[in-house]
Protein backbone atom coordinates (compact mmCIF):
# COMPACT_ATOMS: atom_id res chain seq x y z
CA UNK A 1 0.00 0.00 0.00
CA UNK A 2 0.96 3.63 -0.38
CA UNK A 3 1.43 5.70 2.78
CA UNK A 4 -1.74 7.60 1.85
CA UNK A 5 -3.63 4.29 1.67
CA UNK A 6 -2.28 3.31 5.08
CA UNK A 7 -3.52 6.60 6.53
CA UNK A 8 -6.97 6.07 5.03
CA UNK A 9 -7.07 2.40 6.07
CA UNK A 10 -6.28 3.30 9.68
CA UNK A 11 -8.93 6.05 9.63
CA UNK A 12 -11.47 3.64 8.16
CA UNK A 13 -10.63 0.83 10.58
CA UNK A 14 -9.53 -1.51 7.77
CA UNK A 15 -6.42 -3.60 7.16
CA UNK A 16 -6.21 -2.77 3.48
CA UNK A 17 -7.70 -0.29 1.06
CA UNK A 18 -7.03 0.13 -2.63
CA UNK A 19 -7.40 2.84 -5.24
CA UNK A 20 -11.00 3.32 -6.36
CA UNK A 21 -12.51 1.92 -3.17
CA UNK A 22 -14.93 4.16 -1.27
CA UNK A 23 -14.15 4.29 2.44
CA UNK A 24 -15.71 6.09 5.37
CA UNK A 25 -12.83 7.58 7.30
CA UNK A 26 -12.61 9.19 10.73
CA UNK A 27 -11.52 12.81 10.50
CA UNK A 28 -8.77 14.06 12.82
CA UNK A 29 -9.08 17.76 12.09
CA UNK A 30 -11.86 19.77 10.43
CA UNK A 31 -11.31 23.42 9.61
CA UNK A 32 -13.92 25.98 8.62
CA UNK A 33 -13.04 29.41 7.28
CA UNK A 34 -15.14 32.56 7.28
CA UNK A 35 -16.34 32.06 3.71
CA UNK A 36 -18.48 29.22 5.01
CA UNK A 37 -21.28 30.32 7.28
CA UNK A 38 -23.16 27.71 5.25
CA UNK A 39 -21.43 25.00 7.33
CA UNK A 40 -23.27 26.14 10.45
CA UNK A 41 -26.52 26.56 8.50
CA UNK A 42 -26.22 23.04 7.02
CA UNK A 43 -25.24 21.62 10.42
CA UNK A 44 -28.40 23.05 11.94
CA UNK A 45 -30.58 22.10 8.94
CA UNK A 46 -29.42 18.48 9.28
CA UNK A 47 -30.47 18.51 12.92
CA UNK A 48 -26.92 18.75 14.27
CA UNK A 49 -26.87 18.83 18.07
CA UNK A 50 -23.34 19.39 19.29
CA UNK A 51 -20.20 18.83 17.23
CA UNK A 52 -18.74 15.33 17.44
CA UNK A 53 -15.43 16.36 19.02
CA UNK A 54 -14.83 20.09 19.65
CA UNK A 55 -11.06 19.54 20.09
CA UNK A 56 -10.84 18.47 16.44
CA UNK A 57 -12.64 21.51 15.05
CA UNK A 58 -10.92 24.72 13.97
CA UNK A 59 -12.40 28.02 12.85
CA UNK A 60 -10.18 30.50 11.02
CA UNK A 61 -11.24 34.00 10.04
CA UNK A 62 -8.95 34.68 7.09
CA UNK A 63 -10.86 35.44 3.89
CA UNK A 64 -12.88 38.38 5.26
CA UNK A 65 -10.49 39.69 7.91
CA UNK A 66 -10.90 42.33 9.09
CA UNK A 67 -14.51 42.33 7.86
CA UNK A 68 -14.89 44.49 4.73
CA UNK A 69 -18.70 44.64 4.95
CA UNK A 70 -21.37 44.65 7.67
CA UNK A 71 -22.51 41.21 6.46
CA UNK A 72 -18.99 39.80 6.87
CA UNK A 73 -18.81 41.22 10.40
CA UNK A 74 -22.14 39.60 11.19
CA UNK A 75 -20.99 36.25 9.77
CA UNK A 76 -17.99 36.41 12.12
CA UNK A 77 -20.32 37.13 15.03
CA UNK A 78 -22.46 34.06 14.26
CA UNK A 79 -19.34 31.90 13.98
CA UNK A 80 -17.88 33.21 17.27
CA UNK A 81 -21.17 32.40 18.98
CA UNK A 82 -21.14 28.88 17.50
CA UNK A 83 -17.55 28.34 18.64
CA UNK A 84 -18.43 29.48 22.17
CA UNK A 85 -21.64 27.42 22.34
CA UNK A 86 -19.92 24.24 21.11
CA UNK A 87 -16.85 24.70 23.32
CA UNK A 88 -14.48 24.66 20.31
CA UNK A 89 -10.99 25.54 21.58
CA UNK A 90 -9.45 26.55 18.27
CA UNK A 91 -10.65 29.92 16.99
CA UNK A 92 -8.14 31.89 14.97
CA UNK A 93 -9.78 35.32 14.90
CA UNK A 94 -9.15 38.19 12.49
CA UNK A 95 -5.63 38.86 13.76
CA UNK A 96 -4.31 35.34 13.13
CA UNK A 97 -3.77 34.71 9.43
CA UNK A 98 -4.42 32.18 6.67
CA UNK A 99 -5.73 28.80 7.79
CA UNK A 100 -3.02 26.80 5.96
CA UNK A 101 -0.35 28.78 7.78
CA UNK A 102 -1.86 29.11 11.26
CA UNK A 103 -2.83 25.44 11.63
CA UNK A 104 0.73 24.09 11.19
CA UNK A 105 2.16 26.98 13.22
CA UNK A 106 -0.34 26.19 15.97
CA UNK A 107 0.84 22.58 16.13
CA UNK A 108 -2.47 21.22 14.85
CA UNK A 109 -1.16 19.43 11.75
CA UNK A 110 0.80 16.21 12.07
CA UNK A 111 1.79 13.22 9.94
CA UNK A 112 -0.72 10.43 9.45
CA UNK A 113 -3.81 12.52 10.15
CA UNK A 114 -6.94 12.97 8.05
CA UNK A 115 -7.56 16.69 7.67
CA UNK A 116 -10.46 18.32 5.83
CA UNK A 117 -11.02 22.03 5.40
CA UNK A 118 -13.41 24.23 3.48
CA UNK A 119 -10.68 25.42 1.18
CA UNK A 120 -9.20 24.03 -1.99
CA UNK A 121 -5.61 24.76 -0.91
CA UNK A 122 -5.89 22.17 1.87
CA UNK A 123 -3.50 20.09 -0.28
CA UNK A 124 -0.79 22.22 1.40
CA UNK A 125 -0.68 19.83 4.37
CA UNK A 126 0.76 16.95 2.36
CA UNK A 127 4.01 18.75 3.21
CA UNK A 128 3.44 17.49 6.78
CA UNK A 129 2.64 13.89 5.79
CA UNK A 130 -1.08 14.34 6.41
CA UNK A 131 -3.94 13.19 4.18
CA UNK A 132 -5.51 16.58 3.63
CA UNK A 133 -8.16 17.66 1.16
CA UNK A 134 -10.64 20.45 0.53
CA UNK A 135 -14.38 19.95 0.91
CA UNK A 136 -17.51 22.07 0.63
CA UNK A 137 -19.88 23.32 3.31
CA UNK A 138 -22.27 20.38 3.40
CA UNK A 139 -19.49 17.80 3.61
CA UNK A 140 -17.93 19.72 6.49
CA UNK A 141 -21.30 19.92 8.24
CA UNK A 142 -21.58 16.13 8.02
CA UNK A 143 -18.12 15.86 9.59
CA UNK A 144 -19.18 18.15 12.45
CA UNK A 145 -22.09 15.81 13.16
CA UNK A 146 -20.52 12.39 12.62
CA UNK A 147 -16.76 12.88 12.62
CA UNK A 148 -16.47 10.85 9.43
CA UNK A 149 -16.63 11.40 5.70
CA UNK A 150 -16.57 9.18 2.62
CA UNK A 151 -13.55 9.29 0.33
CA UNK A 152 -12.58 7.51 -2.83
CA UNK A 153 -9.09 6.10 -2.23
CA UNK A 154 -7.05 7.95 -4.85
CA UNK A 155 -4.53 6.68 -7.34
CA UNK A 156 -1.11 8.14 -6.59
CA UNK A 157 1.18 9.93 -9.05
CA UNK A 158 4.82 10.23 -8.03
CA UNK A 159 6.79 13.26 -9.14
CA UNK A 160 10.53 12.93 -8.54
CA UNK A 161 12.25 16.28 -8.29
CA UNK A 162 15.97 16.24 -9.00
CA UNK A 163 18.67 18.88 -9.37
CA UNK A 164 19.25 22.19 -7.60
CA UNK A 165 17.30 25.41 -8.04
CA UNK A 166 19.24 27.92 -10.16
CA UNK A 167 19.85 31.47 -8.90
CA UNK A 168 16.73 33.63 -9.17
CA UNK A 169 14.30 30.73 -9.09
CA UNK A 170 12.12 29.39 -6.30
CA UNK A 171 9.78 26.54 -5.38
CA UNK A 172 7.01 28.65 -6.96
CA UNK A 173 8.80 28.45 -10.32
CA UNK A 174 9.00 24.66 -9.87
CA UNK A 175 5.27 24.29 -9.38
CA UNK A 176 4.60 26.67 -12.29
CA UNK A 177 6.90 24.46 -14.37
CA UNK A 178 4.84 21.44 -13.33
CA UNK A 179 1.65 23.27 -14.33
CA UNK A 180 3.18 24.07 -17.69
CA UNK A 181 3.86 20.38 -18.23
CA UNK A 182 0.85 18.70 -16.62
CA UNK A 183 -1.82 21.40 -17.09
CA UNK A 184 -4.80 22.34 -14.92
CA UNK A 185 -6.49 18.96 -15.20
CA UNK A 186 -3.32 16.86 -15.01
CA UNK A 187 -4.12 15.08 -11.76
CA UNK A 188 -7.90 15.37 -11.29
CA UNK A 189 -9.09 12.91 -8.58
CA UNK A 190 -5.48 11.76 -8.04
CA UNK A 191 -2.97 12.17 -5.23
CA UNK A 192 0.45 13.65 -5.97
CA UNK A 193 3.51 12.49 -4.06
CA UNK A 194 6.61 14.64 -4.32
CA UNK A 195 9.86 12.79 -3.83
CA UNK A 196 13.51 12.97 -4.79
CA UNK A 197 16.63 14.85 -3.70
CA UNK A 198 15.28 18.31 -4.50
CA UNK A 199 12.34 17.73 -2.16
CA UNK A 200 14.75 16.66 0.58
CA UNK A 201 16.67 19.91 0.01
CA UNK A 202 13.51 22.02 0.12
CA UNK A 203 12.61 23.81 3.35
CA UNK A 204 9.20 23.15 4.91
CA UNK A 205 8.03 26.47 3.43
CA UNK A 206 9.14 25.42 -0.06
CA UNK A 207 7.43 22.06 0.33
CA UNK A 208 4.25 23.86 1.33
CA UNK A 209 4.36 25.88 -1.92
CA UNK A 210 4.53 22.86 -4.21
CA UNK A 211 1.86 21.01 -2.22
CA UNK A 212 -0.35 24.11 -2.09
CA UNK A 213 -0.52 24.60 -5.84
CA UNK A 214 -0.94 20.90 -6.66
CA UNK A 215 -4.66 21.63 -6.48
CA UNK A 216 -4.21 23.88 -9.53
CA UNK A 217 -3.40 20.64 -11.39
CA UNK A 218 -6.58 19.08 -9.99
CA UNK A 219 -4.86 17.01 -7.28
CA UNK A 220 -7.05 15.68 -4.48
CA UNK A 221 -4.23 15.58 -1.99
CA UNK A 222 -0.43 15.54 -1.83
CA UNK A 223 2.17 13.67 0.13
CA UNK A 224 5.79 14.19 1.07
CA UNK A 225 7.39 11.43 3.11
CA UNK A 226 8.15 12.88 6.58
CA UNK A 227 11.88 13.25 7.25
CA UNK A 228 14.24 14.74 9.83
CA UNK A 229 13.59 18.27 8.59
CA UNK A 230 9.87 17.83 9.25
CA UNK A 231 10.49 16.16 12.61
CA UNK A 232 12.54 19.20 13.66
CA UNK A 233 9.79 21.59 12.52
CA UNK A 234 7.21 19.61 14.50
CA UNK A 235 9.41 19.20 17.58
CA UNK A 236 9.86 22.98 17.69
CA UNK A 237 6.08 23.15 18.04
CA UNK A 238 5.91 20.49 20.72
CA UNK A 239 4.71 17.68 18.47
CA UNK A 240 6.56 14.45 19.09
CA UNK A 241 3.94 11.75 18.97
CA UNK A 242 2.59 10.71 15.59
CA UNK A 243 2.59 7.72 13.26
CA UNK A 244 4.80 7.81 10.20
CA UNK A 245 3.53 5.66 7.37
CA UNK A 246 5.76 4.51 4.56
CA UNK A 247 4.92 3.25 1.12
CA UNK A 248 5.52 -0.45 0.49
CA UNK A 249 8.31 -1.17 -2.01
CA UNK A 250 5.92 -3.13 -4.25
CA UNK A 251 3.34 -0.33 -4.47
CA UNK A 252 2.46 0.47 -8.08
CA UNK A 253 2.09 4.15 -8.83
CA UNK A 254 -0.49 5.25 -11.42
CA UNK A 255 2.23 7.41 -13.00
CA UNK A 256 5.85 8.31 -12.22
CA UNK A 257 7.41 11.49 -13.59
CA UNK A 258 10.85 13.08 -13.34
CA UNK A 259 11.34 16.82 -13.16
CA UNK A 260 14.74 18.51 -13.00
CA UNK A 261 14.46 21.68 -10.95
CA UNK A 262 17.92 22.65 -12.18
CA UNK A 263 16.38 23.42 -15.57
CA UNK A 264 13.77 25.80 -14.14
CA UNK A 265 13.87 29.49 -15.02
CA UNK A 266 11.69 32.28 -13.63
CA UNK A 267 8.17 31.49 -14.87
CA UNK A 268 4.75 33.10 -14.77
CA UNK A 269 1.17 32.06 -15.45
CA UNK A 270 -0.25 34.65 -17.83
CA UNK A 271 -3.95 35.60 -17.94
CA UNK A 272 -6.37 33.91 -17.52
CA UNK A 273 -5.44 30.40 -16.49
CA UNK A 274 -2.97 28.86 -14.07
CA UNK A 275 -1.46 26.60 -16.73
CA UNK A 276 -0.81 29.37 -19.25
CA UNK A 277 2.83 29.26 -18.13
CA UNK A 278 5.72 31.02 -19.90
CA UNK A 279 9.20 32.30 -19.07
CA UNK A 280 9.02 35.68 -17.32
CA UNK A 281 11.26 37.00 -20.11
CA UNK A 282 8.44 36.50 -22.66
CA UNK A 283 6.40 39.16 -20.88
CA UNK A 284 9.26 41.41 -19.76
CA UNK A 285 8.35 45.07 -20.04
CA UNK A 286 4.58 44.64 -19.53
CA UNK A 287 3.56 47.60 -17.34
CA UNK A 288 1.92 46.73 -14.01
CA UNK A 289 -0.44 48.65 -11.72
CA UNK A 290 -0.19 46.36 -8.70
CA UNK A 291 2.16 43.75 -7.30
CA UNK A 292 0.97 41.45 -4.52
CA UNK A 293 2.94 39.23 -2.15
CA UNK A 294 0.97 37.13 0.31
CA UNK A 295 -1.48 34.23 0.85
CA UNK A 296 -1.16 30.54 1.68
CA UNK A 297 0.96 30.24 -1.48
CA UNK A 298 3.38 33.15 -1.14
CA UNK A 299 3.07 35.00 2.16
CA UNK A 300 5.51 33.17 4.41
CA UNK A 301 8.59 34.69 6.04
CA UNK A 302 10.80 33.21 3.32
CA UNK A 303 8.69 34.95 0.65
CA UNK A 304 8.78 38.31 2.40
CA UNK A 305 12.53 37.98 2.82
CA UNK A 306 12.95 37.28 -0.89
CA UNK A 307 11.02 40.47 -1.62
CA UNK A 308 13.06 42.45 0.89
CA UNK A 309 16.27 41.16 -0.68
CA UNK A 310 15.20 42.72 -3.98
CA UNK A 311 13.71 45.92 -2.57
CA UNK A 312 15.98 46.80 0.38
CA UNK A 313 17.28 50.34 0.01
CA UNK A 314 15.34 50.85 -3.21
CA UNK A 315 12.02 52.47 -4.07
CA UNK A 316 9.12 51.36 -6.26
CA UNK A 317 8.03 53.92 -8.89
CA UNK A 318 5.12 56.31 -8.24
CA UNK A 319 1.75 54.93 -9.31
CA UNK A 320 2.71 51.30 -8.71
CA UNK A 321 1.02 49.60 -5.77
CA UNK A 322 2.89 46.91 -3.84
CA UNK A 323 0.59 45.11 -1.41
CA UNK A 324 2.16 42.76 1.16
CA UNK A 325 -0.02 40.46 3.25
CA UNK A 326 1.89 38.31 5.76
CA UNK A 327 0.37 34.84 5.87
CA UNK A 328 0.08 34.91 9.64
CA UNK A 329 0.69 36.92 12.79
CA UNK A 330 3.76 34.76 13.50
CA UNK A 331 5.13 35.56 10.03
CA UNK A 332 4.32 39.25 10.56
CA UNK A 333 6.10 39.39 13.92
CA UNK A 334 9.16 37.55 12.62
CA UNK A 335 9.31 39.78 9.55
CA UNK A 336 9.22 42.79 11.84
CA UNK A 337 11.97 41.33 14.00
CA UNK A 338 14.24 40.70 11.01
CA UNK A 339 13.64 44.22 9.70
CA UNK A 340 12.12 42.91 6.51
CA UNK A 341 8.79 44.73 7.03
CA UNK A 342 10.63 48.01 7.55
CA UNK A 343 12.62 47.49 4.36
CA UNK A 344 9.48 46.76 2.39
CA UNK A 345 7.52 49.70 3.79
CA UNK A 346 10.43 52.03 3.10
CA UNK A 347 10.52 50.73 -0.46
CA UNK A 348 6.88 51.81 -0.86
CA UNK A 349 4.93 48.68 0.10
CA UNK A 350 1.48 48.78 1.67
CA UNK A 351 1.37 46.11 4.37
CA UNK A 352 -2.05 44.69 5.31
CA UNK A 353 -3.14 42.61 8.26
CA UNK A 354 -2.45 38.85 8.03
CA UNK A 355 -4.96 36.79 6.05
CA UNK A 356 -5.88 36.01 2.46
CA UNK A 357 -5.52 39.66 1.43
CA UNK A 358 -6.77 40.58 -2.05
CA UNK A 359 -6.33 37.03 -3.42
CA UNK A 360 -10.02 36.33 -3.66
CA UNK A 361 -11.05 39.77 -4.80
CA UNK A 362 -13.10 41.19 -1.99
CA UNK A 363 -10.82 43.71 -0.25
CA UNK A 364 -7.31 45.02 0.53
CA UNK A 365 -6.10 45.73 -2.99
CA UNK A 366 -8.69 44.95 -5.64
CA UNK A 367 -8.05 45.59 -9.32
CA UNK A 368 -9.92 48.03 -11.52
CA UNK A 369 -10.97 47.42 -15.15
CA UNK A 370 -7.95 47.15 -17.44
CA UNK A 371 -5.44 47.03 -14.60
CA UNK A 372 -2.52 44.61 -14.55
CA UNK A 373 -1.33 42.80 -11.45
CA UNK A 374 1.56 40.44 -10.83
CA UNK A 375 1.03 38.24 -7.79
CA UNK A 376 2.77 35.66 -5.64
CA UNK A 377 -0.62 34.06 -4.92
CA UNK A 378 -1.99 31.11 -6.85
CA UNK A 379 -4.79 32.11 -9.20
CA UNK A 380 -5.29 34.41 -12.18
CA UNK A 381 -8.85 33.61 -13.20
CA UNK A 382 -10.93 36.48 -14.65
CA UNK A 383 -12.35 38.56 -11.81
CA UNK A 384 -10.27 36.74 -9.20
CA UNK A 385 -8.87 39.96 -7.68
CA UNK A 386 -11.64 42.37 -8.62
CA UNK A 387 -12.64 43.49 -12.09
CA UNK A 388 -13.10 40.70 -14.66
CA UNK A 389 -11.38 43.11 -17.08
CA UNK A 390 -8.18 43.11 -15.03
CA UNK A 391 -5.19 40.95 -15.98
CA UNK A 392 -3.36 38.83 -13.42
CA UNK A 393 0.08 37.23 -13.78
CA UNK A 394 1.08 34.59 -11.20
CA UNK A 395 4.80 34.40 -10.40
CA UNK A 396 7.34 33.90 -7.62
CA UNK A 397 7.82 36.47 -4.83
CA UNK A 398 11.22 37.29 -6.37
CA UNK A 399 9.66 38.02 -9.76
CA UNK A 400 6.83 40.00 -8.16
CA UNK A 401 9.29 42.12 -6.16
CA UNK A 402 11.54 42.71 -9.17
CA UNK A 403 8.49 43.72 -11.23
CA UNK A 404 7.28 46.09 -8.49
CA UNK A 405 10.71 47.70 -8.43
CA UNK A 406 10.67 48.40 -12.16
CA UNK A 407 6.93 48.99 -12.56
CA UNK A 408 6.91 46.39 -15.32
CA UNK A 409 7.27 42.63 -15.51
CA UNK A 410 10.92 41.86 -14.85
CA UNK A 411 13.06 38.74 -14.69
CA UNK A 412 14.38 38.82 -11.10
CA UNK A 413 17.84 37.69 -12.22
CA UNK A 414 18.39 41.13 -13.79
CA UNK A 415 17.69 42.91 -10.53
CA UNK A 416 19.57 40.42 -8.33
CA UNK A 417 22.69 40.77 -10.48
CA UNK A 418 22.52 44.55 -10.24
CA UNK A 419 22.22 44.39 -6.47
CA UNK A 420 25.15 42.02 -5.91
Amino acid sequence: MHAIEKILARAAGKDRVRAGEIVTAAVDLAEINDLYLQVIQSFEAMGGKGVWDPDKVVFVFDHYSPPPTPKAADNHRVMREFVAKEGIPHLFDIDAGVCHQVMPEGGLVRPGMVLVATDSHTTTHGAFGAFATGVGATDLAVVLIRGTLWFVVPEVVKIELTGRLPQGTTAKDVVLGLLQRFKADGFVYKAVEYAGPAVTDFSIAERMVICNMAVEMGAKTTYIQPDDKLREYLAARGIEDYPIDTTDPDYEYAEVHQFDVGQVEPLLAAPHSVDNVHPVGDYAGTAIDQAFIGTCTGGRLEDLEMAAKVLRGRRIPPGVRLVITPASKEVFLKAMATGCIKDLVEAGATVTSPGCGPCLGIHQGMLGPGEVCITASSRNFPGRMGSPQAEIYVASPLTVAASALRGRITDPREVLEEGS
Binding site: I22, T138, D139, D185, V188, K220, R379, P382, G383, P388
Partner: protein, 164 residues
Protein backbone atom coordinates in the same frame (compact mmCIF):
# COMPACT_ATOMS: atom_id res chain seq x y z
CA UNK B 1 -34.24 16.40 -17.42
CA UNK B 2 -34.57 18.03 -20.83
CA UNK B 3 -33.35 21.33 -22.14
CA UNK B 4 -31.19 23.33 -24.48
CA UNK B 5 -27.41 22.85 -24.31
CA UNK B 6 -25.14 25.78 -23.43
CA UNK B 7 -21.52 24.95 -24.21
CA UNK B 8 -18.51 25.97 -22.17
CA UNK B 9 -14.78 25.33 -22.59
CA UNK B 10 -12.29 23.27 -20.53
CA UNK B 11 -11.23 24.34 -17.02
CA UNK B 12 -14.23 26.52 -16.17
CA UNK B 13 -13.37 27.63 -12.64
CA UNK B 14 -15.61 28.44 -9.70
CA UNK B 15 -14.60 32.12 -9.77
CA UNK B 16 -16.20 32.28 -13.23
CA UNK B 17 -19.27 30.34 -12.08
CA UNK B 18 -19.83 32.63 -9.09
CA UNK B 19 -17.37 35.50 -8.51
CA UNK B 20 -16.09 35.98 -4.96
CA UNK B 21 -17.58 39.48 -4.81
CA UNK B 22 -20.99 37.80 -4.36
CA UNK B 23 -20.01 35.15 -1.82
CA UNK B 24 -21.06 37.14 1.19
CA UNK B 25 -24.52 35.67 0.85
CA UNK B 26 -25.62 32.06 0.90
CA UNK B 27 -29.06 32.91 -0.52
CA UNK B 28 -29.43 30.67 -3.62
CA UNK B 29 -31.65 33.17 -5.49
CA UNK B 30 -29.13 35.95 -5.02
CA UNK B 31 -26.27 33.68 -6.11
CA UNK B 32 -28.26 32.53 -9.17
CA UNK B 33 -28.54 36.12 -10.39
CA UNK B 34 -24.76 36.11 -10.99
CA UNK B 35 -24.39 32.54 -12.26
CA UNK B 36 -21.60 32.22 -14.89
CA UNK B 37 -21.26 36.02 -14.83
CA UNK B 38 -17.49 36.20 -15.38
CA UNK B 39 -17.44 33.73 -18.27
CA UNK B 40 -20.71 34.70 -20.02
CA UNK B 41 -22.32 37.85 -18.57
CA UNK B 42 -25.50 37.24 -20.65
CA UNK B 43 -25.96 33.63 -19.50
CA UNK B 44 -28.84 34.33 -17.12
CA UNK B 45 -30.72 36.38 -19.75
CA UNK B 46 -30.30 33.72 -22.43
CA UNK B 47 -31.02 30.52 -20.55
CA UNK B 48 -34.40 29.04 -19.65
CA UNK B 49 -35.15 26.86 -16.65
CA UNK B 50 -34.36 23.23 -17.44
CA UNK B 51 -31.48 24.06 -19.77
CA UNK B 52 -28.28 22.06 -19.56
CA UNK B 53 -24.65 23.18 -19.24
CA UNK B 54 -22.26 21.16 -21.37
CA UNK B 55 -18.57 21.72 -20.74
CA UNK B 56 -15.12 20.30 -21.43
CA UNK B 57 -12.59 18.95 -18.97
CA UNK B 58 -12.14 19.86 -15.29
CA UNK B 59 -15.41 21.78 -14.85
CA UNK B 60 -15.57 23.62 -11.52
CA UNK B 61 -11.84 23.81 -10.82
CA UNK B 62 -10.33 26.30 -8.39
CA UNK B 63 -11.93 27.42 -5.16
CA UNK B 64 -13.91 24.94 -3.06
CA UNK B 65 -16.92 27.25 -2.83
CA UNK B 66 -20.17 25.30 -2.59
CA UNK B 67 -21.85 28.50 -3.78
CA UNK B 68 -20.90 27.43 -7.35
CA UNK B 69 -23.19 24.40 -7.74
CA UNK B 70 -25.80 26.20 -5.60
CA UNK B 71 -25.82 29.11 -8.07
CA UNK B 72 -26.15 26.76 -11.07
CA UNK B 73 -28.97 24.79 -9.48
CA UNK B 74 -30.86 27.88 -8.35
CA UNK B 75 -30.46 29.35 -11.84
CA UNK B 76 -32.66 26.50 -13.04
CA UNK B 77 -30.01 24.48 -14.86
CA UNK B 78 -31.30 20.91 -14.76
CA UNK B 79 -28.00 19.11 -15.31
CA UNK B 80 -24.30 19.75 -15.98
CA UNK B 81 -22.61 17.43 -18.46
CA UNK B 82 -18.81 17.62 -18.71
CA UNK B 83 -15.88 15.58 -19.94
CA UNK B 84 -14.64 15.65 -16.35
CA UNK B 85 -15.23 17.56 -13.12
CA UNK B 86 -12.87 19.02 -10.55
CA UNK B 87 -13.30 16.78 -7.51
CA UNK B 88 -14.48 19.31 -4.93
CA UNK B 89 -17.11 20.61 -7.37
CA UNK B 90 -18.19 17.02 -8.01
CA UNK B 91 -18.76 16.34 -4.29
CA UNK B 92 -20.42 19.69 -3.73
CA UNK B 93 -22.80 19.16 -6.68
CA UNK B 94 -23.92 15.78 -5.35
CA UNK B 95 -24.25 17.16 -1.82
CA UNK B 96 -26.51 20.04 -2.84
CA UNK B 97 -28.51 17.93 -5.31
CA UNK B 98 -27.33 19.30 -8.64
CA UNK B 99 -27.39 16.47 -11.20
CA UNK B 100 -24.07 16.13 -13.00
CA UNK B 101 -22.92 13.65 -15.64
CA UNK B 102 -19.38 12.80 -16.60
CA UNK B 103 -19.64 12.04 -20.33
CA UNK B 104 -16.48 12.29 -22.38
CA UNK B 105 -18.05 11.54 -25.74
CA UNK B 106 -21.32 13.35 -25.13
CA UNK B 107 -19.67 16.50 -23.82
CA UNK B 108 -17.49 16.86 -26.89
CA UNK B 109 -20.16 15.97 -29.49
CA UNK B 110 -23.08 18.00 -28.19
CA UNK B 111 -23.30 21.42 -29.89
CA UNK B 112 -24.65 24.62 -28.44
CA UNK B 113 -28.43 24.75 -28.86
CA UNK B 114 -28.95 21.00 -29.20
CA UNK B 115 -31.92 19.71 -27.25
CA UNK B 116 -30.65 17.20 -24.69
CA UNK B 117 -32.55 14.68 -22.59
CA UNK B 118 -30.84 13.01 -19.63
CA UNK B 119 -31.95 9.75 -18.03
CA UNK B 120 -29.67 9.44 -15.00
CA UNK B 121 -30.90 6.07 -13.72
CA UNK B 122 -30.03 4.41 -17.02
CA UNK B 123 -26.88 6.49 -17.43
CA UNK B 124 -28.16 7.75 -20.77
CA UNK B 125 -27.85 11.10 -22.53
CA UNK B 126 -30.01 11.57 -25.64
CA UNK B 127 -29.33 14.31 -28.16
CA UNK B 128 -32.81 14.91 -29.59
CA UNK B 129 -31.45 17.32 -32.20
CA UNK B 130 -29.02 14.83 -33.78
CA UNK B 131 -30.61 11.58 -32.60
CA UNK B 132 -27.33 10.49 -31.01
CA UNK B 133 -27.24 8.66 -27.70
CA UNK B 134 -24.33 8.62 -25.26
CA UNK B 135 -23.89 6.05 -22.52
CA UNK B 136 -22.31 7.05 -19.22
CA UNK B 137 -21.51 5.22 -16.01
CA UNK B 138 -24.38 5.82 -13.59
CA UNK B 139 -23.65 7.16 -10.11
CA UNK B 140 -23.20 4.72 -7.22
CA UNK B 141 -26.63 4.16 -5.60
CA UNK B 142 -25.92 6.30 -2.51
CA UNK B 143 -25.07 9.30 -4.69
CA UNK B 144 -28.22 8.77 -6.78
CA UNK B 145 -30.24 8.72 -3.58
CA UNK B 146 -28.66 11.97 -2.37
CA UNK B 147 -29.39 13.73 -5.67
CA UNK B 148 -32.93 12.33 -5.80
CA UNK B 149 -33.58 13.81 -2.34
CA UNK B 150 -32.37 17.19 -3.55
CA UNK B 151 -29.13 17.05 -1.62
CA UNK B 152 -27.40 15.68 1.44
CA UNK B 153 -29.31 17.84 3.92
CA UNK B 154 -32.67 16.37 2.85
CA UNK B 155 -31.11 12.91 2.58
CA UNK B 156 -29.82 13.05 6.15
CA UNK B 157 -33.12 14.49 7.42
CA UNK B 158 -35.06 11.71 5.68
CA UNK B 159 -32.80 9.03 7.15
CA UNK B 160 -33.06 10.52 10.62
CA UNK B 161 -36.86 10.47 10.13
CA UNK B 162 -36.78 6.78 9.13
CA UNK B 163 -34.81 5.74 12.18
CA UNK B 164 -37.20 7.42 14.59
Amino acid sequence: MRGKAWKFRDDVNTDEIIPARYLNTSDPKELARHCMEDIDPQFMEKMSPGDIIVAGKNFGCGSSREHAPVAIKAAGVSCVIAESFARIFYRNAVNIGLPIMEAKEGASKIREGDIIRVEPEEGKIINETTGEEYQVAPFPPFMQAIIAQGGLINYVRARVGESR
